[in-house]
């Protein structure tokens, strides 16, 4: 490129402004307690409508909510795992608004004194690490579920979900791309599952996300007008919704339009965002302290006790997998994304030294079969001990890697030990020279053409002969031995 050209390119760019995408996420994590946050109703999902309700979560007059101890512990656990400053003094507030899914006409939430204050998450993406700030992570109650009967002109309300405990994790506006947003979400989900505070099942709604998106000219410090996107219920959906919204805002800004602060809904079918019918008034929640609930005062010692009970988190564990087991970064990342999978690997790794082989078998065969059968690692029919058993058979040369796949498939189907499957199916590798001798001689006498070719200098003919021997032994011949015997016999007939 000549200097002149480069200069022209710069001019074009200076005419067209470059924008930076600014994203902040609000994640709602359903905490894994048996009962709701302020009453003794079961906190499960599904089932007949209005069957897990009581006067407290239905908002009857005169009832008193009482905080669930387990919910408090889970929330502090989550806060600590996100490097938050856990408050020694926090309280609950009422967020007032009218909507039929909210029987009290207010939601119990936390306003100015949240349980978990500022924290951060070190986001690893495409070989880089960026620190994403977490503004706060506070407790609140979930609302009920609305079912719309448009044709009949009414809505129905199911209050089973009302009062289910939620932790709302609010990020700083630190995310810069749809990929970063979904990477951040995956990291939050992985951590929440590791520390066992939530199932984080997006489909079941125990992990939900809203995004605040704005654009600003590159180099500008001031935030642009933000738009809130709701209704994204998969990681792909989050990426697509944000990408669509960024493009929509860029086009609007370039054509001189003003961005209106509003809430837009994402539609997964059309992959677009749509403006929600705008409310005549701006939100005015008139927060005030809930007099029905007492403040939460936590002692440092208690908080530190919870901190010390946290397990090793995914990223540090991945680093350790690379160091301790010599695994590549990719393997370590896959194996430590879920705690149970990492535990599986380590349980098997205690019984073998072939860590990379083990990693391959878990990542390819085991995860493949689990995925096919729609099973989770905790339900694997092949235990870590059995997996280690299979690998030791391969390492000993009792079976080849190829036969190993066959053995593994049978183990997965029946739950049997590798040795048992090998014995029952007669798959033991033929390492007996006498038996192989006979087969090798047979193949040589049946294939005079390729034999002559080989002796005449066409070395690739050997591969064909090896193939014939493997075929005759149904893959059970020890490949090293076959090669050796074949060469011997071809040179010394």
């Amino acid at each position: 490129m000549t200097t002149k050209h480069r200069h022209e390119t710069n001019l074009i760019f200076s005419k067209k402004k470059l924008y930076e995408t600014v994203i902040g996420l609000e994640v709602h994590v359903q905490l894994k307690s048996r009962t709701k946050i302020f009453c003794g109703c079961a906190a499960g999902s599904g089932g007949e409508p209005n069957t897990r309700v009581c006067p407290i979560c239905l908002g009857f007059p005169g009832v008193l909510p009482v905080l669930n101890r387990k919910v408090l512990e889970l929330a502090v656990r989550a806060g600590l795992a996100l490097n938050c400053e856990v408050s020694e003094f926090s309280k609950f507030d009422r967020k007032n608004y009218f909507y039929p899914d909210l029987p009290k006409a207010y939601q119990i939430s936390q306003f100015d004194l949240p349980l978990n204050g500022p924290g951060y998450l070190d986001l690893r993406l495409e070989g880089k690490t960026r620190r994403i700030g977490i503004t706060r992570a506070h407790l609140e109650e979930d609302a009920g579920k609305l079912v719309h009967f448009e044709n009949d002109g009414f809505s129905g309300v199911d209050y089973n979900r009302t009062g289910v405990p939620l932790l709302e994790i609010v990020s700083d506006p630190d995310l810069r791309s749809p990929r970063e947003a979904s990477g951040y979400l995956k990291a939050i989900r992985s951590i929440m599952r590791y520390i066992d505070v939530s199932d984080c099942d997006m489909e079941k709604g125990s992990f939900r996300c809203d995004a605040n998106i704005s654009l600003r000219p590159v180099g500008s410090e001031k935030l642009g007008v933000k738009v809130e996107i709701k209704n994204m219920n998969s990681f792909k959906g989050v990426e697509r919704a944000i990408a669509y919204e960024v493009e929509r805002q860029r086009e609007a800004l370039e054509s001189g339009e003003e961005i209106i602060q509003e809430t837009r809904l994402y539609n997964a079918d059309s992959q677009k965002t749509f403006s929600m019918r705008s409310k005549e008034e701006a939100h005015d929640y008139r927060y005030f302290p809930d007099p029905d609930l007492t403040p939460i005062v936590l002692e440092r010692e208690w908080i530190e006790g919870i901190r010390s009970s946290l397990p090793e988190l995914p990223d540090p564990r991945g680093d350790r997998f690379q160091e301790q087991y010599g695994l590549p970064e990719y393997d370590a990342g896959v194996l430590t994304a879920e705690r149970q999978l990492a535990d599986y690997f380590e349980a098997a790794a205690a019984l073998t030294t072939k860590y990379k082989t083990l990693s391959n078998w878990i990542m390819v065969e085991l995860l493949g079969k689990l995925n096919e059968a729609d099973l989770e690692i905790k339900d694997s029919p092949v235990s870590p001990i059995q997996m280690a058993g299979l690998i030791s058979l391969i390492e000993k040369g009792a079976i080849s890697g190829k036969i190993g796949k066959q053995v593994f498939a049978e183990m997965f189907k029946t739950g049997k030990e590798a040795e048992v499957v090998v014995e029952e199916k007669g798959l033991l590798q033929i390492s007996d020279t006498g038996e192989l001798d006979r087969i090798v001689e047979e193949v040589i006498s049946n294939n005079p053409g390729p034999v002559d070719d080989y002796r005449g200098g066409k070395k690739q003919a050997l591969g064909f002969l090896v193939g014939q021997i493997m075929k005759a032994t149904r893959g059970k011949a020890n490949p090293g031995l076959v090669n050796q015997l074949l060469r011997d016999k071809l040179y010394n007939p």
Partner: protein, 108 residues
């Protein structure tokens, strides 16, 4: 404002405008007649004037109060307690349908 003229209020005593009254009523989903707005506006204004007495106290060194009772950490164990049956839950509902509370159509 009606209440301002009626009572010959000084500037300092004017705490709330008609617009404020309408906004607060709107947030509370109350439909008020002009007479009600005037009457309630006057009463709200009185309350705010009265509350101003608190400004006379020196509070700069005092922590904001989160609760009026000297209580903290009132917690319950995570144990399931029998609630209401669906029939009981819907007992007082003006309208119901298939176990759901029936409400006017709300669409997002």
């Amino acid at each position: 404002m009606p209440w301002e003229k009626e009572r010959n209020m000084t500037e300092k005593q004017k705490k709330i405008s008609l617009l404020d009254v309408e906004k607060v009523a709107g947030l509370a989903r109350l439909g008020l007649t002009p007479e009600e707005k005037a009457k309630l506006g006057g009463q709200l204004n009185d309350i705010l004037v009265y509350m101003e007495k608190l400004d006379e106290l020196e509070t700069s060194g005092i922590e904001p109060l989160a609760h009026i009772l000297p209580l903290q950490n009132v917690l319950r164990e995570d144990r399931v307690r029998e609630g209401l049956s669906q029939e009981q839950a819907l007992w007082n509902a003006p309208e119901k349908k298939d176990g759901l509370f029936k409400v006017p159509l709300v669409l997002e």
